[in-house]
Amino acid sequence: MDKLPRLKDIRPFVSTRNACKLCSPLGASIALKGIEGCVPVIHGSQGCATYIRRYMISHYKEPVDIASSNFSEETTIFGGAENLKVALGNVIGQYKPKAVGVATTCLSETIGEDVALMLKHIKSLTNEEEWPDLFTVSTPSYQGTHMDGFHATILQMVKTYAKDNTPNDKVNVLPNLVSPADIRHLKEIFADCGLDATILPDYSDTLDNGAWDKYYRVPKGGTSIKDIKLSGGAKATFEMGEFTKVSVGKNNSGNLSAAAWLEKEHGVTNHQTILPIGVKATDTLFENIGKVSGYEMPDKYESQRARLLDSYADGHKYVFGKKAIVYGEEDLVLGICAFLDEIGVEVILAASGANNNLTERLKHYCPSNAETIKVMSDSDFEQINEQAHELNPDFIVGNSKGYYIARDLKIPIVRVGFPIHDRLGGQRIKHIGYEGTQELFDRIVNSLIEYKQDNSPIGYKYI
């Protein structure tokens, strides 16, 4: 059996070789799974829904039901209104959902479907009282990545439902594409700090359920539309991530994130941070929380922070000066790089499949290694692979799709983010807060120790 082919000379390609991104309806589907009682419908060919289901199921290990309007040749010629109507009827009949979110695809966008208008029309034909909330998000897969679909869906949700700004006691938390375990941790943090948080989207239960005593067609959990309606009158928004602006899809010329829209439209102050990974970024989150709650950081988190610092002292020598490659979604890459920078790891390559200005933000958040980080936007796994063989990293950090690079280089991969298709528990990996950072730090240090131990002629049983 030959090795996987790898080119020796590095040169630009117009084609994408082993994509380091997914398409935007996938991001929309994850976000829609975070809405209470919501069944996503993908307006396009059957395969789009099925592939996205398979991809999500392999990571979350949960049933992920996503319906399709199932385009045929006739649909493509005459338009998808009839199919969408049938699809909605069947979805509503089968699932009795509280909400249905329709995400478009490259196909329905290219033939110029106006889904918002169709939904209005379909609803007008029925007894409105009995139907769930219907809304749509424009996610043409030839624009941006899955992250654009994810953020566009959140923006669409608040635009659709946050109609007024009558003040209430809630705060909005927009955590970005983090794991269900991360979302649970955030809920705990906000609750402990005395804030009533609406997490948008909250798929902490819907995509990470326990064992069931009965079969739930629509899994329990998720952000309620009632709470999204209150987001315009919230005390503040905590937005995590710097690449959250929506510039894809229809009617998004404003180039605003959901948080920015809430601020502009309803005056809800946005406390934006990068993903709170590492001490510095988590400190900033807690400072912002303090500004809104008026309280000091609870003891529980002081202790978590202190334990994390203690472990930094215990483990610093194993990571200092080690070279890492980080890849994945732009905000995850930024958050991980900032964390690695504060523990003395030298990031030699930061790569994302998204086409964003990552360089400038990385330089800002990685002061120690700002000058030497090589940044690749709009990149793919083969570019990363070719660079990795030139740069000789000590380890790589990213989703499971980069495993083959680590395997070829015989170095550790620390799995983070989405998808984790080759390990159990991808949905339970914690990345954020002091606690998530602690887990990540331990995993990184132990990967490096294990590597050293495995490759040592002696194999000490103590470190």
Binding site: P5, S15, T50, E62, N70, L107, I111, R217
Partner: protein, 452 residues
């Protein structure tokens, strides 16, 4: 039982109590959450194992991203098929046309990776934006001196089955292009094995032991130059008939090569396949060798299966797989382990397959075409099964209900074909059904579905 979607009633049949015949080969109902994928998927899974070809997916990124390295289809040599290439069309390509990008992408990839041929898969929007993929393929083929074969795989142009046909059409452009080759006596082609977990190598060994030569396998461990000369075979042996029947029929018409439908799964079907091939060649020595092989293998296998059979006898299974022919073999194999099949269905079965299943299974068995999670969860609860056999999308349904699950789809990593495959299967069924973890689960009965 609540059937949930009225239009689907004709696609569900309970043996002994349904009056209607099972309807199949229909397009999925919109909104039904079908477990099927699309035309592109059908063509991609069939052609994917051809290891020395370049597979370029022409369209936005999703289709390529979701099919990167997804099958456990092994190659003994080149691994080019395990890289996922895409033209990754962007908005400007959609507006101004994707042909220039396709041409550049093909050229740079062929120059860099030196494939023996290239397959170019058209995805949904390619036809809509008016790209002439044929013309680009012809042009690049001329410039690069290799076959560049368009695969018309627009997702909406039918079902997964139409994708199989698109793949067969693409293969048929290669078949017969090397006419110099002289095939040895007793040469066959294997059609419809994809060398998942190295299964082809198990079969090859059996065939070699009885004196049969294999020219090529379509498409497991596939090579372009083998496909060119496979019209020299005396017989096409077709497994997974859903995907490869088009090509088998075409080769019969064009080259007069007869075909036989077989399955390599389970003792009965595996042995039957070897006997059929040996009988076809009307060679006593070969037939004797087949008898010896089968009897040796069975003598070893039956006692090895016994302990599993003891634990599994009386347990009930549900099967939902891609092709119904595979389901038929599974029913027989489960019987060998003492298990009964209470629910059986497939994404793409045809009338013949379902008639066979109806004859094979006991009264009360539910047979279903193109099912979905809600129906499947209802059926397994109603029938009180202990095991669910399916693919990735069915797995969480089983686990959420506290049922054992066996992966029999193309992502599996265990060989299940042949005699050793049967033993692997028994081990896996045993591990799935008899794990002590299920003691902590309350298996829901049919009256408990949350539907609010």
């Amino acid at each position: 039982m609540e059937r949930l979607i009225k239009e689907r009633n004709t696609q569900i049949h309970t043996i002994g109590s349904s009056e209607h015949d099972l309807a199949c080969e229909k397009k999925s109902t919109a909104g039904s959450v079908s477990q099927r994928a699309c035309v592109f998927c059908g063509s991609r899974v069939v052609l994917y194992p051809i290891a020395d070809a370049l597979h370029l997916i022409h369209g936005p990124i999703g289709c390529a991203a979701y099919t990167w390295d997804i099958r456990g289809a092994m190659s003994s040599g080149p691994q080019l098929h395990r890289l996922s290439f895409s033209t990754d069309l962007r908005e400007k390509d959609v507006v101004f046309g994707g042909e220039p990008k396709l041409k550049k992408a093909l050229t740079e990839l062929i120059e860099s990776y030196n494939p023996k041929a290239a397959f170019v898969y058209s995805t949904c929007i390619v036809g809509v934006i008016g790209d002439d993929v044929d013309a680009v393929c012809r042009e690049v083929s001329k410039e690069q001196g290799i076959d560049v074969i368009p695969v018309m795989a627009e997702g909406f142009k039918g079902t997964k089955k139409d994708g199989y046909k698109a793949a067969c059409d693409a293969l048929s452009t290669l078949v017969g292009t090397d006419d110099d080759y002289q095939a040895p006596e007793y040469s066959i082609n294997i059609l419809g094995d994809f060398n998942l977990a190295g299964e082809l190598w198990i079969l090859k060994d059996y065939y070699e032991r009885i004196g049969v030569n294999i020219i090529t396998c379509l498409t497991g461990d596939g090579r372009i130059n083998e496909i060119r000369k496979c019209h020299k075979a005396s017989l096409n042996v077709v497994q997974c008939s859903g995907s490869m029947m088009h090509l088998a029929k075409e080769m019969k018409e064009k080259y007069g090569i007869p075909f036989k439908k077989v399955s390599y799964f389970g003792i009965e079907d595996m042995s039957e396949a070897l006997y059929e091939v040996a009988s076809f060649f009307k060679n006593d020595e070969m037939l004797n060798k087949a008898r010896t092989l089968v009897s040796n293998e069975i003598q070893e296998l039956i006692p090895a299966l016994e302990p599993y059979k003891q634990k599994l006898t009386g347990k009930k299974a549900a099967i939902y797989v891609g092709g119904a022919f595979k389901a038929i073999s599974l029913v027989k194999a489960l019987r060998l382990l003492g298990m009964e099949t209470a629910v059986v269905g497939s994404q793409t079965g045809n009338k013949d397959d379902y008639n066979l299943l109806t004859k094979l299974c006991d009264a009360g068995t539910v047979i279903v075409d193109d099912s979905n999670p809600n129906e499947l969860s209802e059926f397994v609860k109603e029938k009180g099964v202990d095991l669910f056999i399916g693919g990735v999308k069915e797995r969480p349904i089983a686990y959420k209900l506290g049922l054992g699950f066996c992966d029999h789809n193309h992502e599996r990593k265990e060989a299940l074909a042949g005699y050793e495959g049967m033993l692997n299967f028994a081990k896996e069924v045993y591990a799935s059904v008899c794990s002590p973890v299920w003691q902590f689960f309350n298996r829901p009965s049919s009256s408990t579905t949350e539907n609010e």
